[in-house]
């Protein structure tokens, strides 16, 4: 596997095992994500994307293995103002205004007091909510609410962003704008791990992780995934990889089912 950028990879997962409700949700995963890229984590609902992201953020109990982020153990103290996190749930206070939410999270990130207002204004501009600053989040549309959530993760310019389905339920224009924002951030050196179950977002990523039932079916560039499978689009490539993995699983224990 190639690691772009110098130093340690953005994310280094080694032999990660996660058991939830007696089931091995991630049975043993090794993975490396280079810095400064937009990495798409794609797979069907329930395949373990959220669990993997929670491991990267250090909020998931794990049964074994290691997860390192920016060269440090996932979730450790030095990472807490360097990695922005957007969960699927909106994770902002719906009874506070947009500006109040962002100001609070800015304070929690220990952004110097005199810089908080400017930082909040900057982020509201990034997620296009400047005109809604005084609005209660609960009174906004779903798309606007998810942009508040994203804005909170952008405060303080983190080195890495972990975004769990940030574009779900957004209209096409908004989705395009967000992906443009992700590209801009990545051009500034930010690493983005973005999950989606919509395969057509794959083309916008530098690198793809195709996941199914806790196993990586592919870890390659979009072009590489297409070339390796001969499929016309990522959705077809995913399906062909699923079939291939099923065939390998049927064979008596010979080669490993991992596809690099």
């Amino acid at each position: 596997m190639m690691n772009g950028g110098g130093g340690s990879p953005a994310i280094a997962v080694h032999d990660l095992r996660v058991i939830r409700g007696g089931r091995a949700v991630i049975p043993g995963l090794t993975l490396s994500v280079p810095r400064g890229q937009v990495v798409g984590l794609l797979g069907p609902n329930g395949c373990g994307k959220t669990t993997l992201m929670r491991c990267v953020m250090g909020v998931q109990k794990i049964a074994g293995g290691t997860v390192e982020v920016l060269g440090r153990p996932a979730g450790s103290k030095p990472l807490r103002d360097r990695v922005g996190y957007v969960t699927q749930a909106s994770s902002v206070y719906t009874d506070l205004s947009v500006a109040e939410n962002l100001s609070y999270f800015a304070a929690v990130l220990k952004i110097p007091r005199r810089k908080v207002d400017a930082e909040v204004a900057r982020v509201m501009g990034l997620v296009d909510l400047t005109d809604w600053a005084g609005w209660r989040v609960g009174a906004l549309s779903g798309g606007q609410e998810s942009r508040v959530t994203l804005g909170a993760a952008l405060l303080g310019t983190p080195e890495m962003l972990v975004l769990d389905e940030p574009t779900v339920g957004l209209d096409p224009v908004l989705r395009r704008d967000l992906w443009d924002l992700f590209r801009t951030l990545s051009s500034q050196g930010v690493t983005l791990l973005v999950s989606s179950h919509v395969m057509d977002e794959a083309g916008r990523c530098d690198r793809l992780l195709l996941m199914r039932e806790g196993v990586m079916l592919a870890d390659d560039t979009p072009a590489g995934v297409l070339a390796a499978t001969g499929a016309p689009d990522v959705e077809a490539a995913f399906l062909s990889l699923v079939d291939r993995a099923a065939e390998q699983a049927e064979r008596p224990s010979g080669e490993s089912a991992e596809v690099g």
């Binding site: 939830r20 953020m57 250090g58 909020v59 998931q60 109990k61 794990i62 979730g75 103290k77 807490r80 103002d81 990695v83 996190y85 969960t87 699927q88 749930a89 909106s90 994770s91 902002v92 206070y93 719906t94 009874d95 506070l96 109040e100 609070y104 999270f105 304070a107 929690v108 990130l109 220990k110 007091r113 209660r136 909170a152």
Partner: protein, 244 residues
């Protein structure tokens, strides 16, 4: 722990409450109405003077228990807690922030309820009014910290509300309001010794009948505060960065 983060959290919680006008009105008006009702029912009897002060301690306890358990449950469920725990916020900052915010709210409630009882309803107590307010605030803080702790065991707001009768009513029955604690059956009296509300009510009773028993009241208040600190420690233990 960082004072700025604690205060930022406290002011955030207060802002949330401030946006919710109906809750504020309920917090302030309901205790006054209930005390007024009590005074009216026991008009021309000594009962209101005997029960008024202890109830001034019980109401903030009950109300703050409910408000805090629902608010923190919401925080746990909305994903904001998970986000906060990935940020440079210590658990102690979060809990202390909650305790300060609800403590301030409780102080407001206690001031108004006490003033209303003393000057509108004509409650007679031997001790000083400020001591009534102080004990009421400490009771409210106790309610907040217990609410924060039990919210960890609720998975829905329905359950959180049900914890109120489960945790609070037994304490209410045994705290000495219905019959004095030393007249309780032995087993129940021993149990009541281990319940914080007993000490809250003891303190209020002392203030009711004695004009200069500040030391005795201070002892009870310290016990209530110790229970509150214990609940904070237990509450902090239920806030886990890593969850299954």
């Amino acid at each position: 722990m960082n004072p700025r983060l604690t205060m930022a959290t406290a002011s955030r919680v207060m802002r949330q409450v401030r946006h919710d006008h109906r809750t504020i009105v309920l917090l302030i008006v309901v205790p006054c109405v209930l005390l007024g009702l009590l005074a009216w029912i026991f008009n021309n009897t000594p009962v209101f003077d005997a029960l008024g002060a202890p109830l001034l301690g019980v109401f903030p306890f009950v109300v703050m228990f409910l408000v805090t358990s629902v608010t923190t449950l919401r925080e746990r469920q909305s994903g904001t807690l998970e986000r906060l725990l990935t940020l440079p916020l210590a658990k102690a900052d979060l809990i202390a922030g909650y305790a300060i915010a609800f403590g301030a709210l409780a102080a407001l409630q206690a001031l108004i309820a006490t003033g209303f009882s003393l000057w509108v309803l004509g409650l007679n107590v031997a001790g000083p009014a400020w001591l009534l307010v102080l004990v009421a605030v400490v009771d409210a803080v106790l309610g907040s910290t217990l609410g924060l702790f039990v919210s960890a065991f609720a998975t829905s707001e329905f359950q959180a509300v049900q914890f109120m009768p489960a945790f609070v009513l037994p304490q209410f029955l045994l705290c000495g309001l219905l019959i004095p604690r030393d007249e309780l059956p032995d087993v129940l009296r021993v149990i009541s010794d281990f319940l914080p509300l007993s000490y809250a009510v003891d303190a209020m009773r002392t203030i009711t009948v004695q004009s200069s028993a500040t030391g005795e009241v201070a002892g009870d208040v310290l016990i209530v505060l110790a229970f509150a600190l214990g609940a904070i420690a237990l509450g902090a233990a239920t806030l886990r960065r890593r969850t299954p």
